[in-house]
């Protein structure tokens, strides 16, 4: 299966971080959108549709953004799939391009989180797990404990993911944190949900990221020639209701997400040069890479500790610093990952450049639903 290619003609972000209350969601979205348009050398008149991913933005946040940006009157849609919202918006724009609805679409992922969320992220209050005390950190902590028991992985190996990703973030000017951390700091951090501590968790952040997606006709109209990184496919699946007493870290949802990515993009795991992985928690990067089939089952923690997934290693994961360092404004994350893939595939990622990067994959997993192995999972496959 092959859909018409969608080129990323422009990518832009505002630096992720904690912003004061008077920096609005709309202002952050505008900042990222203008960066993406300016990166493409495109003006607003070229944009035929706006796709906005957000979770806590409130009703018709996309239209509020459009009204301030000057895209009023155009088709605007809002996409909520929790942490996969930004990538879901990209998927819908990609589908619209493939269907021939538009040649130029602007996608924004945005979240103003620090003044709306405190003490950890939880599913919808109506969810049964939320009712008994589930918070995201707790789910990943239970995953980590079981992973260590079953695979003989050590706490230090899991913590190595945070050390690695923070080391990468030093080279990312868009990241919320741009400082290395030591293994001792990760192990000694305040406990959040044992065995995970503060530095095993991505922060609550504000931010926005945007990409301008174009068909080949759209590129011609903008005078951009034919080149630039392309989206080969965006997979989207949901968690399925689990039965029995199986492996807590089976990540069947990630396995199916991988199959969807390969099916849509026509590339396979062996073609992937780098991954932007949804490392909302250290253990999450490990089990999701394994679920996708990019790391052998039970080896993910060891691979992180051995440097296999570090810049310069065989399969760099999160050269941007990942969610642990770049920050995790949930609705913006998927769009930020695609910005990073774009820069990597252009070869313009500076000190965090993955040498010879030709094909990359970005994975987001958003939300939890009682009884299932996840909410929504997106996979974006791009090639230079």
């Amino acid at each position: 299966m092959s859909l018409a290619p969608a080129h990323v003609a422009g990518a832009g972000m505002v630096r992720f971080g904690k912003y004061p209350a008077d920096v609005t969601l709309e202002a952050m979205a505008l900042g990222a959108a203008r960066e993406a348009l300016s990166d493409a050398g495109a003006d607003l008149a070229a944009v035929e549709g706006l796709y906005v991913g957000h979770v806590f933005g409130g009703p018709v946040a996309g239209q509020r953004i459009a009204a301030q940006l000057g895209l009023d009157g155009r088709p605007v849609s809002n996409h909520e799939n929790y942490c996969a919202s930004g990538a879901t918006a990209i998927r819908e724009a990609w589908v619209a391009l493939a269907a021939g609805l538009h040649d130029v679409a602007l996608v924004i992922g945005v979240e103003k989180m620090t003044d709306r969320v405190a003490g950890g992220v939880r599913p919808d209050p109506g969810d049964l797990d939320a009712a008994v005390g589930y918070v995201m950190a707790a789910g990943h902590a239970m995953s980590a404990r079981r992973y260590m028991a079953e695979h003989g992985a050590t706490r230090e190996q899991i913590a190595a993911v945070a050390v690695k990703n923070h080391a990468h973030s030093v080279h990312n000017p868009w990241a919320q944190y741009q400082k290395p951390v030591t293994l001792e700091q990760v192990l000694g951090a305040r406990p959040i949900a044992e065995p995970l501590g503060l530095l095993d968790c991505s922060p609550i952040s504000d931010g926005a990221a945007a990409v301008l997606l174009c068909t080949p006709a759209g590129l011609r109209r903008l005078g951009l020639g034919t080149g630039g990184p392309r989206v080969l496919g965006v997979g989207q699946i949901s968690g399925s209701v689990q039965t029995g007493l199986g492996d807590l870290n089976a990540e069947d949802v990630s396995r199916r997400a991988g199959e969807e990515a390969w099916r849509l993009s026509g590339v396979g795991p062996a073609d992937i040069d780098l991954v932007e992985m949804h490392d909302c928690f250290t253990i999450a990067e490990i089990v999701r890479m394994e679920g996708l089939g990019l790391v052998p089952r039970g080896r993910g923690a060891a691979w992180a500790a051995e440097g296999v997934t570090a810049l310069g290693g065989r399969l760099p994961v999160n050269p941007s610093g990942g969610l642990l360092s770049r920050g995790h404004p949930v609705g913006a994350t998927g769009a930020a990952q695609v910005c990073e893939l774009t820069w990597q595939l252009r070869g313009t990622a500076g000190g965090r450049q993955v040498e010879g990067a030709r094909t990359g994959l970005a994975y987001c997993k958003g939300g939890t639903v009682n009884g299932t192995d996840g909410g929504s999972v997106t996979t974006v496959v791009m090639t230079a």
């Binding site: 005390g133 918070v135 404990r145 039965t243 029995g244 009682n370």
Partner: protein, 143 residues
């Protein structure tokens, strides 16, 4: 979300309809009359075979801790710390999430046996007490 307390028999009604029976304390799930797979909470379809007919079912009260964590930070309004676990009900092959009580966090172990217990779960808008569920540690892991 109120933390699980240790009062003897909480009074009131289940915090969600159809979730549990009070006397005797039971979790209410569903079971497929074709393949036998049980589910909690009750579902209208069989998630195992997808084709079978499901009927209401009372689940076993004996569980064991498949994994657990001690939650030290939670959104405002939630008292910490508390022990949250994936609890397996081996007789029904059902896994569910619940708090574990009756043991200090450092005493919890993988595979530890636990029993279903009802617990106070806050108060409804009309003032009625709400009843929820947790699991109580009842012994050591078999050597």
């Amino acid at each position: 979300m109120p933390s699980a307390d240790t009062s003897p028999t909480p009074r009131g009604r289940p915090f969600r309809e159809g979730l549990l029976a009070l006397d005797p304390p039971r979790l209410l799930g569903s079971r497929c009359t074709d393949c036998g797979a049980a589910a909690f909470p009750a579902r209208t379809f069989c998630p195992a075979c997808r084709t079978g007919v499901v009927a209401p079912a009372e689940l076993s009260t004996s569980g064991r801790v498949h994994s657990f964590t001690v939650v030290r930070q939670a959104p405002p309004g939630t008292e910490v710390p508390y022990t949250l676990a994936w609890v397996d009900l081996p007789a029904d092959e059902v896994r569910l999430m619940a708090q574990v009580v009756g043991i200090a966090p450092e005493g919890v172990e993988l595979d530890m046996p636990v029993d279903l217990e009802l617990t106070g779960f806050g108060t409804a808008e009309d003032g009625t007490g709400l009843v929820g569920f947790c699991f109580r540690a009842v012994g050591q892991v078999a050597p």
